[in-house]
């Protein structure tokens, strides 16, 4: 381990040899590095037999790659064979491993299919719509605000209700699966319920319908995978014992985002007691509804672990940023106006590195933190940020910068403004770019083959094929010219399969100067013609073979080819599931894959994480949620007002409380509370309407405080926070922002 320099707090963790260890870390403390070093240490110390593995469980696929590579390196440096003795998995990947070994125990066949989230969305939407057709009025009668005008009611029926029911269904089904309730079990509970639970009834009906549709496809969804893995471990003690032997140590990263069932699965696997959990409860934030719960990790660290440790030292940010973040913890703990939110953040405080640290903090710069009190409209806020960027960028071409927003739609507005101002930006909102690129190239070619007489699509297919030339100064001219010519080709057939005397290329040749340039262009058009003819031949193949054949011509990068292989299998499955689909539908499907991030478990090497340092001099636009784990030299936090960061004040409003629902009820929270009630034992735990809505507000306020903390701790050198008055013009600065400002103004200058 000598090749790695460890901080004392990290050294202490490497002394671990067994038992339950809970570690609280701060942002930038090197959790991945420390856990990797611990895994390598356990392996090289001989604590792991040849048929055993250290199991590392983490949250996202990019982290899986990161861990795998690091541990491999460390083991190699210790003189051992890399890739042996450990296994890195997301919870889904782990569940998949478990279910794959024992599918029959879960009622699955050997090669069961896992549907991805988009397909799951489609099925759920169908189930929700079907339910609404017969129950919409019932639901409205029960829950709508009574003072709605007719035109409003019409809109609710048409747009808002379907959307609401779909999101309720998502939350309900997930939650039911997290509790390992099948539709049958749920039905039995509902039949015994002492009082009416209309939302739970609705949830059950959609859940049952959804699950039937999955069964029909011979498929499970991601949540099933986890539920079934737990079921298998619980049912088969011998198998569990075998896995406990196979994984003598379990290291869990990002444990603050662990859900109840994740904890249950790992607890079973860690029957031997060797379980290390690392997390930062202050960074427990969730982009969409999940069943994760940060209290689980706190409870573990406080009361269940045999050993406790901290990773409080971080070399990421300059002292002024660290002070701000630490003050936020303090303020929340002591002064947050709502006492029930005061434990949203907790120590440890972030400590700067020791003087001899190999990765020291950036130099102190009190001016680097700017909390802007000015009252902006949403438009003016965007303008101000874009102007600030326009001034800053030319002077800092080697620095990284990000604009962090609370939600995607706001990000899109920022991007529009950057476009107008001619500022280079990187959009990191939905999909990661590489998936999109490879799928996009294939998509352009398929789009042309679906509409073979379209010249514009032919031109786009050409551009996709020659995409590398766009960046090449030497070829860019030819590329642009060819694309332009193709776009204007009136009769594509006269180009691709000319009849005698009607060759479009001849017409083109006549109109060109007889110079070299013209020759190159003709040659290019001829080469492309031969290629497209081959492409046309592939349209008769089954879709998987078609994709594979096209991929051979379109890609050279191994990761792109691997992705194409996967896409071929996915599209083939789609074609089998939808026998009526032809090329246009499959092309749409591919476009959706390109647009949406799809959780291909384990298949991550095409997206090995987002690396901000690759984008110096450009503006990265993303959400505060997606920024987790990343850092930039300069960070803008936008929209820090009381709408996106409420504080449980009377004038706060909440996004989950729909305007058309009576009594400001949060129906999602109420639906889950009804589900809770079904499993409750005592009579005092029975469902009382409205309680869940209030509790959900508290959870939301707490989560938003952590989100702010995450946003602040993304900055290395400079941090700018702004707020706006919201769409209605009534929003105020978030209370925590005001507190930070006050503190900053009144604090004594640093010594």
């Amino acid at each position: 381990m000598n090749e790695f320099t460890l901080r004392p707090s990290q050294e202490a963790i490497l002394a671990y040899t067994g038992g339950k260890l809970g570690i609280s870390a701060v942002p930038g403390a090197g959790k991945t590095f420390t856990l990797s070093a611990l895994a390598a240490q356990l392996i090289s110390s001989g604590a792991v037999a040849p048929d055993q593995e250290v199991l590392i469980v983490t949250l996202v696929n990019s982290a899986v790659d990161n861990f795998t590579a690091r541990i491999g390196q460390m083991i190699e440096q210790a003189g051992l064979i890399p890739h042996l003795g450990y296994r890195v998995r997301t919870l889904h990947g782990l569940a998949h491993d478990i279910v794959r070994e024992k599918p029959a125990l879960a009622g699955l066949e050997e090669r069961f299919q896992i549907i991805d989230e988009r397909e799951a969305d489609l099925i759920r939407r169908e189930a929700a719509r079907a339910w609404l057709q017969t129950h919409a009025e019932e639901l409205l009668a029960e829950y709508r605000r009574l003072d709605l005008e007719d035109y409003q009611l019409g809109r609710v029926r048409r747009d808002h209700l379907p959307e609401l029911v779909e999101s309720l269904a998502l939350a309900f089904i997930r939650s039911a699966k997290d509790r390992r309730l099948t539709p049958e079990a749920l039905r039995a509970l509902l039949d015994q319920a002492p009082g009416p639970l209309p939302l739970a009834e609705m949830g059950w009906a959609i859940y049952a319908d959804y699950q039937r549709a999955l069964t029909y496809r011979g498929a499970v969804d991601f949540d099933d995978l986890i539920r079934l893995a737990y079921h298998i471990l619980e049912t088969d003690a011998e198998f569990l014992a075998r896995l406990q032997y196979r994984f003598p140590y379990i290291l869990e990263d990002e444990a603050q985002d662990s859900s109840r069932v994740q904890e249950d699965i790992l607890r079973l696997l860690a029957g031997h007691g060797n379980w290390v959990r690392v997390g930062d409860p202050n960074q427990a934030i969730f982009e969409t509804f999940t069943t994760a719960n940060p209290r689980l990790l706190r409870r573990f660290i406080e009361s269940k672990a045999d050993l406790r440790a901290e990773l409080p030292v971080s070399g990421r940010s300059q002292p002024a940023v660290i002070d701000l973040a630490n003050f936020l913890i303090d303020w929340v703990n002591r002064e947050h106006p709502a006492p029930e939110c005061r434990d949203a953040l907790a120590p440890p405080y972030i400590q700067p590195t020791a003087p001899d640290d190999p990765q020291p903090n950036p130099p102190a710069d009190p001016q680097g933190v700017k909390l802007i009190g000015r009252k902006f409209t949403p438009e003016a806020e965007v303008t101000a940020v874009v102007e600030s960027l326009a001034r800053w960028l030319p002077e800092h071409p080697d620095r990284t910068v990000a604009v962090l927003v609370p939600r995607n739609t706001r990000g899109v507005e920022v991007i529009e403004a950057l476009k107008k101002a001619g500022i280079e930006y990187i959009e990191f909102l939905n999909s990661t770019s590489t998936t999109r690129a490879a799928a996009g190239v294939l998509g352009s070619v398929l789009a042309y083959l679906s509409d073979p007489s379209s010249a514009s699509k032919l031109s786009r297919a050409y551009q996709a094929w020659r995409r590398a030339w766009r960046e090449l100064a030497s070829q860019k001219g030819l590329y642009t010219q060819t694309a332009e010519l193709l776009r204007k080709c009136r009769r594509v057939e006269d180009y691709l399969s000319p009849q005698p005397g009607r060759d479009w290329l001849e017409t083109v040749a006549e109109s060109l100067p007889p110079a070299d340039e013209g020759d190159a262009l003709l040659q290019e058009l001829e080469e492309f013609r031969a290629l497209v003819r081959r492409w046309q031949g592939t349209t008769l193949l089954p879709i998987d073979q078609m994709i594979l054949t096209l991929a051979q011509e379109l890609f050279t990068e191994p990761a792109d080819l691997a992705l194409a292989h996967k896409l071929a299998i996915v599209l083939r499955q789609a074609a089998n599931d939808h026998p009526g689909w032809r090329l246009p539908e499959l092309t749409d499907e591919l476009a959706l894959i390109a647009r949406n991030e799809r959780r291909f478990i384990g298949f991550s090497s095409d997206d090995s994480g987002f690396d901000p340092d690759r984008y110096c001099g450009k503006v990265v636009v993303t959400t505060m949620h997606k920024a987790k784990g990343l850092e930039w030299d300069r960070v803008y936090l936008m929209s820090v007002n009381n709408y996106d960061f409420p504080s449980l004040q009377p004038n706060d409003t909440y996004i989950s409380e729909k305007w058309f629902v009576r009594d400001r009820l949060n129906l999602e929270a109420e639906a889950l509370a009804q589900l809770d009630a079904l499993q409750a034992s005592g009579e005092y735990e029975w469902y009382a309407e409205g309680q869940a809505t209030v509790a959900a507000r508290v959870d939301y306020v707490r989560e938003r405080l952590r989100l702010l903390y995450v946003g602040i701790t993304r900055a290395r050198r400079e941090l700018i926070i702004t707020w706006n008055t919201g769409r209605q013009g009534e929003a105020t600065p978030a209370i925590p922002l005001a507190a930070l400002q006050e503190w900053q103004e009144n604090r004594p200058p640093p010594a």
Binding site: P50, D51, I81, R87, H96, E101, K102, A104, L105, A106, G107, L108, E109, E110, Q113, R212, T215, G218, H231, T235, D236, A237, E238, R242, L449, S450, D451, P452, S453, R491, E493, L496, S497, Q499, Q536, T539, L540, L541, P542, D544, Q545, L548, T549, P558, A559, L561, A562, H565, K566, I569, N576, P579, G580, R582, F600, I601, G602, F603, S604, S605
Partner: protein
Amino acid sequence: MRLTASQRAVVNAPLNEHLLVAGPAGSGKTTAGVHRLLRLLKKGVPANEILVLVPQRTLGFPYSDALRTPQAEAGGEISILTIGGLARRMTELFWPLAVEAAGFAHPDRPPTFLTLETAQYYMAHLVRPLFDQGYFESVVIDRNRLYAQILDNLNKSATVGFPHTEIGERLAAAWSGDPAQQRVYADAQDCANRFRAYCLEHNLLDFSLQLEIFLDILWPQAIVRAYLTRAFRHLIYDNVEEDIPRAHDLILDWLPAFDSALLIHDEDGGYRIFLGADPLSAGRFQRAIPNQIRLDENHVQSPAVAALEARLTRAVAPASPAPPPDETEAPAYTLVHAPFYPELLDKIAAQTADLLADGVPASEIAILAPYLSDALRFALMQRLEAADIPVRSHRPSRSLRDEPASQALLTLAALAHPAWGLRPTRFDVAYAFMLALETDLVRAQLLAEIVYRPKDAALTGFEQIKPEVQERITYRLGNRYTLLRAWLDEYRQSEPLPLDHFLRRLFGEVLSQPGFGFHHNFDAVRVAASLVESVRKFRLAMQPTQEDAEAADLGREYIDLLQEGVIAAQYLESWRADAEEAVLVAPAYTFLMMNRPVRFQFWLDVGSSGWSERLAQPLTQPYVLSRNWEPGRLWTDADEVAAGVQALARLTSGLLRRCREHLFLGLTNVGETGFEQRGALLRALQVAVQKGRTPA
């Protein structure tokens, strides 16, 4: 080829002797068996008195191949059969004896033998309505596999020999998981009962019924026994360990009646356990035939491969014998590693090309995987073909359903039969035009856009198109289109024909004419012929239950089933005959069942857990339904581990015994679909190949 003394002893055994030959794979048992067959013929035994019995058709290929060589004696035909083939032949012959005893409802009518596909069709027909009643609700499985597993249960009861009514009970008694799951077994039982009743009602015979009729009804009758014992005087029974216990029962009973009998037993085999093989039951021959010859010397493996096999087997199954001390020569394997699958395939293609360049015959190379997805096979074959490497696979890369020519024909069939209510998309029609009228995609699409109305599947005339567009489409294409349309119109006016007749006419009168797509395209012609044959077989199989229905509606049914994938497993027939001199790409078990060693093997991907996972079939269980399972015992994780270890050890050792020189191990970081895999084989290989680390 020179035979060893032991092999010669087998070949030259007296013509009235019963002999059992035992030994591991690669010891020359089948070679001896083949020479024995040739010697029988040479000694004047009439060919039609010889029965060669094998558990699976492919295992009979060495025998039928030998008979095609010049040194083979001419003469009558030798019966090379499986027990199923024999059962079917006897049931056909003695139908009147079987029909009433078996309880068929229509003794006056002939039997209809079902293939796997047609049996699946009838199963689908019976089970589909039950889903709405909540059958199989708690099990997640593709419908076609569900049907297949119910049929498999029936087959198990017939091949093992217990009443088919006990299937559910036996499965439930061994189940140790969630009790709710047991309902599924009851559902499976109920479906099996319904299927059997339906078969009896309509004179349908699936494999299980054929076997039961032959073994339970016909064989016990003196007249049948007399017929068989008179017809066959000499028996060669190869790979007895791969056969079903009831086949063993039959031969044990029949054995005394043969003049000569040669039984061949590979004690380490048993690859077909999932298909009902019972190596333990085959052990009974050891006691029944005192006269035995052992062949032990391996004529296939190099010492290095043998050493690898020993170490690997030990690593997979620590209970097996200790490997010999580490040899000093070069190891018998090479690791071929790539981060991603497509790269691995590139490397394998390059490595194969190198071997060929070094003078290795293509037929001496086999590329094996536990499971070959369509995409994988296609991608691999494509690379090998691009490198001009002759290649063959266990089946072609496209099923009949996926063949463009059959799609074009079926689209035209749908246009000709508007009453079916099938409405091809514009795309289908454009593709059909492209192929049938021999044109390019752009013009085919233009034409389809204009002339085809999906609403009622109608085609308008070329003359109604604007002249400018006519010119774009070209008049030549227009003429061909007009001919096709006129033919379809005329057909629409007439009485509909059965689909196979329709296709034959369409092909003969239009598509094979000069200018049309099937005129020069021999591939397409071959596909058309197979399609017609497949439709015809389907029609014949369906006839007993469809008497009242319009024959032409069966055509629609056929298209539906093809699209649903029930008739998915049909492939063009001619694949085996051609390209013997080619690299083989096949699933590992298929390769084992071809029983032909090669010099070089590629295993891909060794990380895949598919090498050891073969158990998960929610509705059936080969071990529990076997004869060796103690009734009422629970199937536990320990059983599963033991079965997995045994199956993997058997598989790897079986493969390596069929490898003469060298093994290439393909390894990727993530599998085909993006899952990182570390299956049992990889773990065992790590232990086996690591120097200095001996397995515990």
